[in-house]
């Protein structure tokens, strides 16, 4: 089911304090304006490395960071949003994208293989095989028993090493949340062309708790708060990317524009002035960062 309100809880935002809601939005905006700057950097020729933008999908990582702060991350290619939302230093990300020695991996890894390790953030990535990070995440969670998030997509969910990763996590009751960012596409091939089965049904069949919903940030936070007491668990977030799979191009408007929907909700909550101020500050922060 592909709808902006699929699984979204009516009035989910109502159960959040104003401060929580604004923090969530700030996280979305910082990611949004960071990647907006990346588009400019690519267009101006500042970098010609490949980039995988989180635009359109900012709400998921922001919600996960709000609900599971401090989790160790194992992300895959579309991961700028996680880096920012979980507190990675944006200048390290910028430098990584520019191939500079001061980047988070010394400029050697780039957009899709991002990692960062400091006292705030333990973020591992993949190396370019979709979903390869998922068994790694399971092994790490087994190894140190830390709260862990493994991020993959609806395409990766088909990789043969995903099913046993879910199974091993279940067998050993590991503190891991499997997050499928489901945009219904493997690059441009729709799920229905690739398979007849649902990933969430597979996870349920194993006996894992599952939540399946669109990327409304308040609903995602609620879903994760429900799941975090019964890990391992699976969260399927229906989302849509705004830009191409790789690069800064765009094939027209996405199925839904989550940022605009969140803005409308903030206005409905009477937080219009606050949201504009957050946008202004986030934009300024990221413009300054990229103009240094």
């Amino acid at each position: 089911m592909r709808r902006a309100d699929y699984g979204v809880r009516p009035d989910a935002s109502g159960s959040f304090s104003k401060a929580e809601t604004l923090a969530l939005y700030e996280s979305i905006c910082r990611s949004h304006f960071f990647d907006s700057q990346v588009i400019d950097a690519v267009k101006s020729g500042l970098t010609n490395y490949q980039v995988y933008l989180s635009l359109g999908q900012e709400a998921g990582p922001a919600a996960l960071a709000a609900a599971l702060p401090g989790a160790q991350l194992f992300t895959q290619h579309r991961c700028h949003g996680y880096f920012i939302a979980f507190g990675g230093p944006p200048e390290k990300l910028r430098d990584e994208l520019l191939g500079r020695p001061s980047g988070s991996s010394g400029g050697r890894a780039g957009s899709n293989c991002l990692q960062h390790h400091d006292e705030r953030l333990a973020m591992f990535g993949h190396h370019g095989l979709i979903g390869e990070n998922v068994p790694l995440a399971v092994g790490a969670a087994f190894g140190n028993q830390k709260k862990t998030i493994a991020v993959f997509g609806d395409g990766s969910a088909e990789e043969d090493y995903i099913y046993p990763s879910l199974g091993f996590a279940l067998t050993h009751r590991l503190p891991i949340l499997f997050v499928c960012e489901d945009n219904d596409l493997s690059i441009l091939t729709p799920t229905s062309t690739r398979r007849s089965w649902e990933f969430t049904q597979m996870a349920k069949g194993l006996g894992l708790p599952v939540r399946d919903l669109a990327d409304d940030p308040w609903s995602v936070v609620q879903a994760v708060r429900e799941l975090k007491g019964e890990l391992p668990a699976v969260l399927n977030i229906r989302t849509c990317r705004r830009q191409w799979h790789v690069g800064v191009g765009c094939d027209g408007p996405p199925e839904w524009d989550r940022l605009a929907l969140v803005q409308a909700e903030l206005d409905r909550l009477g937080l219009g002035a606050e949201r504009q101020e957050i946008e202004r500050q986030a934009q300024q922060e990221m413009e300054r960062l990229w103009n240094e």
Partner: protein
């Protein structure tokens, strides 16, 4: 004095690692029949993996990333083709890309004569890609030394074991003789065969140095390795893996480049290792090694006396 085998050595080093270092040992069907030829201890830290040959390696690498120094047991080296992806694509690249080492100790066990996908030695695959150290210990002392190398370093390590070594109690010193006709460089289980071949050939008047190869990568053509070749004028590298693009050819090339002398390579024929006796395509045994040496020696010219330096 009690004789300590390679199997005993592996088991007791593993036990110490698991009981005292907080290490892990992961593998499929490791704590059942025979405990992998009696190389796996019965103690804490043993993780029976489900039969999942790609994800299982990923679990081991993930544990390595968070400092558990896992021993990952591959009961038959052929299974490395499936298990190789997380090892080669992730563990091997992590340090260079991110400065985050993933020191996984991969025990890959070679065998022979038990069918097409249980008899392989495929360590050359891990020599090909960057990131892994590759060794093939065949004695208790060698095993202890490579284990120490693993513990004191932070690289992932592919340890090409062989069933033919598990009951071995003896060290294998180099055999160096004056005026040797050729220097043999055997690898893995062919080392036992090369020693026998040297004896066979000695009876015929063909004198062989035997220089044992423990480290495949890095492979250092140091004084110990080069000097006997410089004296004998020609060499032969012997490996239980396939010849074409295999370890023997790779090492022979290095030796030849370093010394300017002809060094040949002997490995498996380019044929499937079938189960039935005549088609097993077994590793080069003493008879086959001796035959190859006779051919080389009969051909006459030593590199030292010829102007060439090529690969014969």
């Amino acid at each position: 004095m009690e004789r300590v085998t390679v199997a005993d050595t592996i088991r007791e080093l593993s036990r110490e690692h698991l009981e005292q270092n907080g290490g892990l040992l992961l593998g499929q069907s490791i704590s059942a029949v025979g405990w992998v030829n009696n190389t796996v201890p019965d103690c804490q830290g043993i993780v029976e993996l489900p039969m999942t040959d790609v994800a299982g390696a990923g679990f081991a690498v993930g544990a390595a990333l968070v400092g558990r120094r896992p021993i990952f047991v591959i009961r038959f080296q052929d299974f490395l083709l499936l298990n190789g992806s997380p090892l080669i694509n992730y563990a091997a690249k992590s340090k260079e890309l991110h400065g985050r080492p993933a020191p996984v100790f991969v025990r890959a066990i070679g065998a022979d004569g038990i069918g097409p996908v249980h008899s392989g030695v495929v360590h050359s695959m891990f020599m090909h890609f960057p990131g892994f150290k590759v060794c093939s210990p065949m004695t208790p002392g060698e095993y202890r030394s490579i284990w120490q190398e693993y513990l004191t370093g932070d690289d992932p390590m592919l340890v090409s074991e062989h069933r033919a070594s598990f009951q071995n109690c003896n060290e294998l010193p180099d055999l160096l003789i004056p005026d040797a006709d050729i220097t043999l460089y055997p690898v893995s289980a062919t080392r036992f065969e090369a020693v026998k071949a040297a004896e066979l050939l000695a009876a015929e008047g063909i004198r062989c140095n035997v220089v044992h190869i423990l480290w495949l990568k890095p492979f250092r053509v140091d004084q110990r390795v080069a000097h006997p070749l410089l004296c004998s004028g020609r060499g032969l590298v012997i490996d239980p893996g396939y010849s074409i693009a295999g370890a023997a050819q790779a090492l022979a090339y290095e030796l030849s480049q370093e010394t300017g002398l002809p060094v040949a390579a002997l490995g498996l024929e380019d044929a499937t290792k079938c189960l039935c006796q005549p088609l097993q395509n077994r590793l080069p045994d003493a008879a086959r090694i001796a035959e190859r040496v006779r051919q080389i020696v009969k051909k006459g010219a030593r590199g030292a006396q010829s102007t060439g330096g090529g690969h014969v």
